[in-house]
Symmetry: C2
Subunit: 158 residues, 2 copies
Amino acid sequence: MAQRMHGLDESQSDLWVALTVFSQLFTPAMDARLREVGLTLFEYGALMSLSDAPDRALRISEMAERTYAPVPRLSKVVARLEGRGLVTRSVSTTDGRASLISLTASGRRVLLRAAQIQAAAAHYLVLDRISAGDAATLATILSPLVASLDTTGPLSDG
Amino acid sequence: MAQRMHGLDESQSDLWVALTVFSQLFTPAMDARLREVGLTLFEYGALMSLSDAPDRALRISEMAERTYAPVPRLSKVVARLEGRGLVTRSVSTTDGRASLISLTASGRRVLLRAAQIQAAAAHYLVLDRISAGDAATLATILSPLVASLDTTGPLSDG
DNA sequence: GACATATGGTTGTCCCTGCAACTAGATAAA
DNA sequence: TTTATCTAGTTGCAGGGACAACCATATGTC
């Protein structure tokens, strides 16, 4: 993907390549690191969404929103995590269809270890390689772009 | 993944979240756009590696390097692309084990359409949303980080 | 040349994901 | 209440990717 692309000048193309390659390598790199605690990056995010939740519990659909993933995926991930004893499920008192997912003590322990791995990786892969200013710049430029990727956006135009 | 993480201050954590979310959303977003021409982002990259190659042909292992993916994956992707008539395979004259993969005319046509979709997406998702200066900044900061993600790097330390 | 080793690719198995169809409980209308 | 519709979540199937084991050709050593 290095060849000049239609409608992009060289510097635009450079950026696009960087974003593409980064995106392709990031998840596998993190998955490899988190394998030590038996989690994927996505599972880590799912557990984190619970840990961050106001009352430490979320419904599947809420987890799906917060992890930017479709509900069926969360349904299966939660089933796996439940099978491993990292989360528990309780039927919502207000809605018999909904289930509330909570972290178990074991889940909290694993999450804690995973968070440490995450932080170490963040430093090793990125933060220790760029200046604090560049880090701030990067976050500032990147954050608003996330919204445009969130699949609700139109596919066609542009 | 919004909770404060160990060893990261708030701005560092913001960057990490932005990188993580961006990486998770980017590939699906591009895959969805490229579906129109029946390619995934990865297949697009694989075809592009051929198109970029000096003599317009590469061996599987070379494609693997250029797409940052393991050889078995390329082996299967090439098989699919070959089945769809987008590439052809010819045994290397110098090494009976190696095969040379080349784009077909049909492959070139599809790649051309895909490149247009790519460019449009690049504008719509990113380039039209940030200034030219920010784009250049982003590329400058991001590019060197790619090397650290390329899986040869150590998993443990950091 | 014969044997060991290294290299280029392929294949088999398992797991994960996407998508569509589906079940079950909730809400609305009549 | 009965029926229709909507919503929360689950499940089945098909396709792709990771990893390890494997086959076939090449190279190096004696």
